[in-house]
Subunit: 368 residues, 2 copies
């Protein structure tokens, strides 16, 4: 491995000068600089980032802690983050906490040990201890997608309540009146907020938000399937379901088929997330799309400012991004309706400030 002494010798300068041109942190005579540059690429020299980091206390590496990167939602999210980090010149260390407090803590330590400049975390388990160690190490971190009670981490989340409200309002516009809500684990702030949006839309329309039409269950296909069957059993008259995630909605689709109900006709569905899979189902899911690219750039930007200045105004470090209702088939709009935007009037009022409505067949920035 060629080191900067080799470069220095070839260029006929001292090792320090090599550093100067590398980081141009110091004035260097044009002629000298040229010789050094020439030597550098003649030898194919690349500075050792470990040594550099040890000296500068900067690794240009971020830690990304997710519950499970194979989940379509987190996969989409992590891809966007990796992209934003790459743009900013940062590499990312990825860890899946798999909803295990111990494993999450293991990754927090692995990241800290490796001296990442910052950490982005979607906490799954109990993040209290991880958060404590993060603070002790004074490493900037931002909480993504959800908030955890008692932990005042800077955060980037979407307008869950607004998105859920828009989804529910849209179902109401379709004439649905017995609208159920299927959402994630009760411990998750995102799940709770979506319920609030659902309730709000129903209340505004003078419709009841009955508890028997509400189900908290994990964000998974299986859980969505089981919960849908149970909702249907508790109230067979349900004519629409707002599902808190695309994966759950896939389970809902399956459950409806099981009992012989037609999605989008007998029971309308609107889900949340707008992951690629929402476009793979039959019929396609009408869904509240999260702005992945914006989330990613925002969270990376926030982390970088925090790295620059760790002691900045905390109040400005909580961002809520808007979502977009993407009308496809399961809400009842269907292929025919899609060609006639007028049949579904635009939403007005509260949710309009945070939720855009879109008429589209696929997510704008598809990954494939």
């Amino acid at each position: 491995m060629v080191g900067r002494v080799d470069v220095a010798r070839l260029a006929g300068v001292s090792p320090a000068v090599v550093s100067y041109v590398l980081n141009d942190s110091h004035p260097v005579a044009p002629a000298t600089r040229e010789r050094v540059v020439a030597a550098i690429d003649e030898l194919g020299y690349r500075p050792n980032a470990l040594a550099r980091s040890l000296a500068t206390a900067r690794t240009h590496t971020l830690g990304l802690l997710l519950p499970e990167s194979a989940n379509p939602y987190f996969a989409r999210l992590s891809s966007a983050i990796e992209d934003a980090a790459f743009e900013a010149g940062f590499a990312v260390l990825l860890g899946n906490g798999v909803d295990s407090t111990a494993r999450e803590l293991g990754y927090v330590r692995a990241f800290l040990d490796r001296r990442v400049d910052g950490i982005i975390a979607v906490p799954g388990g109990d993040f209290a201890e991880g958060w404590r160690e993060l603070q002790a190490a004074k490493v900037p971190a931002v909480s993504l997608d959800r908030l955890q009670a008692g932990i005042d981490l800077p955060s980037v989340v979407v307008d869950n309540a607004g998105g859920a409200r828009a989804a529910t309002e849209h179902l109401i516009e379709h004439g649905r009146t017995r609208i159920a809500c299927l959402t994630g684990g009760e411990g998750l702030s995102s799940a709770q907020e979506r319920v609030i949006g659902w309730r709000g839309a129903l209340a505004d329309a003078g419709l009841p938000a009955e508890d028997r039409r509400l189900a908290f269950t994990p964000f998974s296909v299986e859980a969505g399937h089981a919960a849908t069957l149970e909702l249907l059993e508790r109230d067979p008259a349900i004519d629409a379901i707002f599902a808190g995630s695309d994966t759950q909605a896939v389970g809902t689709l399956r459950a409806l088929a099981d009992v012989g109900l037609r999605a989008g006709e007998d029971v309308a569905i609107v889900s949340f997330d707008g992951t690629p899979i929402s476009d793979y189902t039959t019929p396609r899911l009408t869904t509240v799309v999260q702005p992945y690219a914006e989330i990613a750039t925002e969270v990376v930007r926030m982390l970088l400012t925090l790295i620059e200045d760790p002691a900045q105004d905390r109040s400005r470090l909580h961002r809520v991004l808007p979502t977009t209702l993407l009308r496809r088939d399961t809400c009842g709009c269907g292929p025919a309706a899609r060609s006639d935007a007028e049949r579904v009037p635009a939403l007005a009022g509260a949710s309009a400030t945070t939720t855009r409505i879109e008429q589209n067949q696929t997510e704008p920035k598809e990954f494939l």
Copy 2:
């Protein structure tokens, strides 16, 4: 930040002794060791991995280069790899090459600069230069999922030909005779091998493998959709399609719906990969499942042995893992058939050695 000198002072020993107990690389008196251990966790001391790596030339970090981690297949794969790496005590740096040679090279350098112990790559663009730099840096690397012409990297791939053969044979068993093949970009070894399996099964059955029934197109929903329509136009009599990936099969499903053909009835489908999305479609995809966990443990294991001993026998560094045909609905087995294993006779002959047949509704190790 507390360093080992603080620990040493508190324990009343020299800094060196702290190292000794940390790595137990040296005999230490029991009493001394105890004092050091006590000091370590009283102070919450954690060794700086950068400094340690600089001294030992080991980072316990792997670089994982993928085309695009949001793709369901790579998402599934990366999750399995992250898991295997975690088991082995390694962290992983993740990079998406997005089929760009420049970006792939950027990541190879980012990984090399950070002195990863090894690299796992699923090359998308032209990997020649990356491979050159990898060799120059003498950093072990293994090629995953596909091989690249002219590059003799250690590799872990699945039995693409065998899986494709099993898929096609299964379609033949269902009485299909005009079986088309839809597969990935012509430049990909995996795509080519799947075509070979398709041809082989047809040949064995005395069926023609007509070129008009073969299409090379990217592994994406859109491409699968367009290619299916074209195949159908070239030969409207097609009664089955072997799709080289689940994502393409989703496009096929959509195309069939477009032209009013019923999947699993008018046209049977078997796809490849066995990603979670294959279970989200309607009807569910019969698919050739890749052994994600085995692939991951194998590739990590191979990389670790290479790290231990870079100069080992190259011939043993190419592994081909078996796939499993997972019968669901699109092949024609359908829910009814699933309860009667006898209706679909087990395969015999060549493919039996590398392809297991399974009767199951979902992938065994689901991530949700």
